[in-house]
């Protein structure tokens, strides 16, 4: 979230799209109700289904699954053509005036630089700005130049007219326009919209681009960086934000730093590439501090072994040949290239697509380690559960180790919520049986490995043997120790650069924040964005003062938010270029003549006067927000509508290029191509989702949740039910090219047939929560049906759009 949960109450319009906050985030949803009560806010829901969010919405519009870019592109077009944008904001705080490389082009669904053989844009050199002789980006403040971002944007989205949108999305034109009106009502400085989205936008082959399109709408309206606005990703797990923060992705290091690629063998070049110079005069480009964060991380990991001489152990870092995301790992496993696999708090057999492929892949492993509090489906993948998991146990030779772990309530620690709050929690119960905290299992494993390396040597023992392991109980690092390590500490007495006689922090003391980090090895910090969470003053995450002095929900003393306890990102943008709040009723941070201050910690150089012209998006080398994503997105700088990989209409109405029907850069493995269905065989668009009564595949193990939602079902509209002779409560079989599931049919008015590209498209809703383990009635794994396709940028599987057929059984 750019903003914070409690800030949603400040919104005038709440758009829920690509998510279902009322069902998947019922506790956070209270702030939407608060906005309605206190602020007379209007709630607008756009979703393939009339959800429980829609049940309390002021307006609902249906949409075909996977067509959100077309919808939002249409909104962009509406805002531009009807002049419903916040002019001063977009001109000063976005790249509207920036000129783009003349070679950059978009033709018939493809951008310049596409390599059809590789199914990738391997030449993105034209996706850049024009640079002047001074090295800075050339701009046109009049925004008349046809190569300026504004003109290119306008041209690109002029194609998304209401009838085109309606034709692709199936949203009736009048309903689409009504949604546009609600959104456009926040284009002035006195009204603000927030967007709440979740996996309904993420889990598509073009998911990242959908989210970008949403962000672009918000930028046009001047709704980023202000109270009640923002792009608010509602995270799906209580600590999934913490997972990404700490770099648990194969290409990441903690704090969104990145691992070097296999060609990046030079330390200096590695850092330089990640510490870009400002692209415009007087911009901050905060990532220029990258080396400070990186060196402090390496000092945290390797302690004394990390020195300037060995480039802070740069050579010990793995160098990536390609992303080793989960799809890739299972592809490798499927091809017999993997011997062992650790599932730590992860149930891939249920959570990842194409179960039958996963079953084959897991069976090729020599060993599989499951660390989980529950008996997961993955841990029983080898066992025959009849139709639900029809495997030949005798032929599977994989050894499965099941290591029971504690649940969150059985250990102390912090969880990072969607709003980036690190909230400390205290152990509430002893774990049952032999369950152990993950840290103890991993700690013990490390010590064993280290002993083996010490005794027997090995090809490359250095990173293991030199890992700094200062914990009081080495086999069981405590949450407190780890949290303090993430915050970081001074390794020597830190001297104030401005006044050498002054010592800011003595050696061994906790740091106050990432501003104190150094690139000379004098500081250690396990995750730079967490610096400040456990200072010399103690555990900031454990704070529980919910005082809200400004009455705007910023509650600065409740827990601790990264970065720097900042509740709203880009909050400099809440004030106009002169430093005055756009809306006096919505003051957040402002320039008081000497420095920036206000309700929130300024996301800015605290003493940079407005006249200097530093932009509010200080992490970007441009200093402003980008409509034109340069070369940073895999499928192009402007989001373009592509059909889901499995499309019910077979064509992309936006072009007639067979290579651009679905995302031309989507994550697809060659071997999976025969596993995609067509609308001839599987005519219905399906989407998967969560229900409020359950959490993923966990709570089916809990009796109360099982009582509240006991049995697997799929939702279909009355039209489809009538066509197929299915009555409410009948048992049906839903099949895709990859398998089938059987469940109760719930026939509803809430899913309506849509008119798309001249044909009727029915959608089938598939809740995911069932499996063959747990207390709820045993059911099929919904992801049996989903395709093995990933987003081009994040490799997130396309679980939200695929094709199925449905029959009564």
């Amino acid at each position: 979230m750019t903003n914070t949960w409690s800030d949603i109450k400040n919104a005038d319009v709440v758009l829920i799209m690509g998510g279902n906050a009322a069902e998947a985030h019922p506790c956070g949803f209270k702030w939407v109700i608060e906005a309605k009560k206190l602020n007379k806010a209007k709630l607008v829901v756009v979703d393939p289904r009339f959800t429980r969010s829609a049940a309390v919405a002021d307006y609902y519009a249906p949409i075909r699954t996977g067509t959100d870019i077309a919808f939002l592109g249409g909104v962009i077009n509406y805002l531009l053509t009807n002049d419903k944008i916040q002019h001063e904001y977009v001109k000063a705080y976005t790249d509207f005036t920036f000129l783009v490389d003349e070679r950059f082009a978009f033709e018939n669904g493809l951008y310049s630089g596409y390599n059809a053989d590789k199914r990738a844009y391997d030449d993105r050199s034209s996706w850049q700005y024009q640079r002047g002789e001074d090295g800075y980006v050339v701009t046109d403040p009049t925004m008349q130049d046809p190569r300026c971002v504004y003109q290119l944007l306008k041209k690109h989205y002029s194609r998304y007219t209401p009838d085109v949108v309606s034709n692709i999305c199936g949203t009736p034109e009048d309903q689409f326009l009504k949604v546009c009106e609600y959104i456009a009502s926040t284009s002035g400085t006195d009204r603000v919209m927030t967007i709440m989205y979740a996996l309904g936008w993420t889990q598509h082959s073009q998911g990242s681009q959908i989210i970008r399109t949403g962000a672009m709408v918000q930028l046009l309206l001047g709704n980023i960086g202000v109270k009640g606005g923002g792009m608010n990703a509602l995270r799906g797990h209580s600590n999934i934000q913490g997972l990404t923060d700490l770099g648990l992705m194969t290409n990441l290091l903690p704090g969104y730093m990145t691992l070097p690629g296999e060609r990046e063998t030079d330390y200096g070049a590695y850092i330089a590439r990640r510490a870009p110079k400002p692209m415009r005069p007087n911009q901050m480009s905060y990532w220029q501090n990258y080396e400070k964060f990186h060196v402090s991380l390496m000092k945290s990991w390797y302690g004394k072994a990390a020195t300037a001489e060995n480039n802070w152990c740069f050579d010990w870092l793995p160098k990536l040949d390609k992303p080793h995301d989960i799809l890739q790992v299972f592809e490798d496993m499927y091809n017999g290239k993997l011997n062992g696999y650790f599932c730590q708090g992860f149930n891939p057999l249920a959570a990842f697509p194409n179960k039958s492929k996963l079953n084959v892949a897991l069976a090729k492993l020599k060993y599989l380690v499951i660390m989980d509090p529950l008996a997961t489906e993955t841990s029983e993948f080898w066992k025959n559960y009849g139709d639900l998991n029809n495997v030949d146990t005798a032929s599977i030779q994989t050894t499965v180790f099941r290591l029971p772990t504690t649940c969150f309530a059985e250990e102390s620690g912090s969880l990072v919520n969607s709003a980036r709050w690190l909230q400390w929690h205290w152990k509430g119960a002893e774990p049952p049986g032999e369950a152990k905290p993950d840290t103890e299992i991993m700690g013990s494993l490390h010590l064993h490995l280290r002993e083996l390396y010490e005794k027997e040597g090995g090809t490359f023992p250095d990173p293991i043997l030199n890992l700094d392991w200062p914990y009081k109980r080495p086999h069981e690092p405590s949450s407190e120790e780890l949290a303090m390590e993430f915050n970081g500490k001074a390794l020597v007495d830190l001297v104030d650069p401005a006044d050498p006689t002054k010592i800011i922090r003595k050696a061994g003391e906790q740091l106050d924040g990432f501003a104190q980090l150094r690139a000379d090895g004098s500081t250690a910090c396990g995750c730079w964005i967490y610096a400040g969470c456990w200072t010399q003053a103690g555990n900031q995450m454990a704070r529980r003062d919910n005082a809200d002095p400004y009455g705007d929900g910023q509650t600065q003393k409740w827990a601790w938010a990264w970065p720097a306890n900042r509740r709203i990102l880009y909050n400099r943008a809440s004030a106009d270029p002169s430093g005055k709040p756009w809306d006096s009723r919505r003051r957040l941070v402002w320039w008081n003549g000497k420095q920036w201050g206000g309700d929130d910690v300024p996301d800015f150089a605290p003493a940079s006067a407005p006249e200097v012209g530093m932009g509010p998006f200080i992490m970007n080398p441009e200093g402003i927000a980008r409509f034109f994503a340069r070369d940073m997105m895999a499928e192009g700088p402007f989001p373009e509508h592509y059909e889901p990989t499995e499309t019910p209409i077979g064509v992309n109405p936006m072009n007639d290029n067979p290579a651009a029907v679905y995302n031309p850069a989507a994550r697809i493995f060659k071997g999976d191509l025969p596993n995609f269905g067509t609308s001839a065989e599987f005519p219905y668009a399906a989407t998967t989702y969560r229900l409020t009564e359950h959490f993923h595949y966990w709570t089916k193990h809990v009796n109360i949740n099982a009582v509240l939602q006991p049995e697997q079902f799929v939702e279909i509209g009355e039209g489809l039910a009538h066509e197929k002779g299915i009555a409410n409560g009948d048992r049906v079989q839903v099949s895709s090219k990859r398998g089938y599931i059987r469940a109760v049919a719930l026939v509803t008015k809430r899913i309506r047939a849509l008119k798309v590209n001249g044909q009727t498209v029915h959608q089938v809703g598939i809740p995911i929560h069932w499996g063959f383990m747990g207390q709820a009635k045993a059911g099929y794994i919904a992801n049996t049906l989903a395709p093995f396709v990933g987003d081009a940028n994040t490799q997130t599987p396309e679980s939200k759009s695929f094709l199925v057929n449905i029959e009564k059984v």
Binding site: A22, E23, P26, C27, F29, K30, I33, E34, K36, K37, K40, F50, R52, S53, A54, A55, V56, D58, Y60, T692, E693, N703, I704, N705, A706, V707, L708, Q709, P710, E711, Q712, F713, N728, G729, V744, A745, L746, V747, T748, K749, R750, Q775, A776, K777
Partner: protein, 306 residues
């Protein structure tokens, strides 16, 4: 369920006043249907606080689970899909359960002294240790709420967490409701709060928004804010003008003492008839006649023997 003893307004099958020197604030639970997201947190909280668990059931083609109130499920979310005149759709979600009527039909019908109690705060509570399991409360309830347990044959329903309220806590469902759709407080405050919600709903185009506090049962201590207060039936058949059924009133009303009086009169009348008119005996004349005949026959028999 709670064992308060000094603030009992009414007690089932009891003809004399109950202890009521302690006066408590009249409370109410307000369910703002327009803010309810049907998350069932209230159901879960109810199960947890009261330590009741229903069976893991089946899906019968709706989101309502368990699909009905049971002795182990004192509140259930009812989901209703309603098409509007303009072709739109509404998904009306109502938390169903005991309404805690001011004039409770269950209490009126209950034959077991003290099995149903109404406290001065308005809560209608079942005391299952006095319950005989006859089900008359079900017969008396205008909202079809009480359920007989298959396990112990006693009737159960929402207690409005009388045990929590007795010690100044809100009911468990109100405590956990994430959106504040369930509010709890004095009935007066709840009505005031409801007004603000109704105003808001009217501004949003729900011209018939209103409070459901039906007069037919003397008002309730569980009230709803409805978008369509003119059509409560849309909310899973919430009765428009609920009242204790005339059948129940006839059965448990004045006819009771009248019938008792009639039976008493019949018994007493008989006694006094006997006392005043004397028995209906066989006449002496007939008895003598039979006596004579007997003697004659006996004599004849003797001769025959000779």
């Amino acid at each position: 369920m709670a064992l308060q003893s000094l603030d009992i307004k009414r007690r089932s099958a009891t003809t004399t006043p109950s202890p009521q020197v302690r006066q408590t604030l009249e409370v109410a639970k307000l369910i703002d249907v327009s803010a309810c997201i049907g998350c069932k947190a209230c159901q879960a909280a109810c199960m947890e606080w009261n330590d009741i668990r229903d069976e893991v059931g089946t899906n019968v083609g709706v989101y309502d689970n368990p699909s009905d109130l049971t002795a182990n499920q004192w509140t259930v979310m009812r989901f209703n899909e309603v098409e509007t005149a303009d072709g739109g759709l509404e998904w009306l979600i109502r938390k169903d359960g005991c309404m805690h009527c001011e004039d409770p039909g269950c209490l009126k019908a209950c034959p077991a002294p003290g099995a149903i109690i109404q406290y001065s705060n308005g809560i209608v509570d079942f005391h299952e240790e006095h319950c005989i399991g006859c089900g008359y409360c079900i017969t008396g309830c205008p909202f079809n709420v009480p359920r007989i347990s298959k396990k112990d044959g006693k009737a159960y329903k929402c207690t409005l967490c009388s045990d929590r309220v007795a010690v100044g806590q809100a009911p468990a469902c109100a405590k956990v409701c994430p959106t504040g759709a369930i509010q709890f407080g004095s009935k007066e405050k709840m009505k005031e709060y409801a007004e603000t919600r109704i105003t808001d709903l009217k501004e949003r185009g729900f011209d018939n928004a209103g409070l459901y506090d039906p007069a037919g049962v003397g008002g309730t201590h569980v009230m709803y804010v409805l978008h369509h207060a003119d059509q409560p039936g849309l909310y899973n058949g919430l009765p428009k003008d609920p009242a204790i059924s005339p059948m129940v009133s006839v059965w448990k009303g004045v006819t009771k003492p009248l019938a008792m009086a009639a039976l008493g009169a019949a018994a007493l009348g008989s006694l006094f008839h006997y006392v005043m008119k004397g028995p209906n005996e066989v006449s002496k004349e007939l008895e003598d006649e039979m006596e004579r005949e007997d003697e004659r026959l006996r004599a004849q028999e003797k001769e025959d023997v000779k």
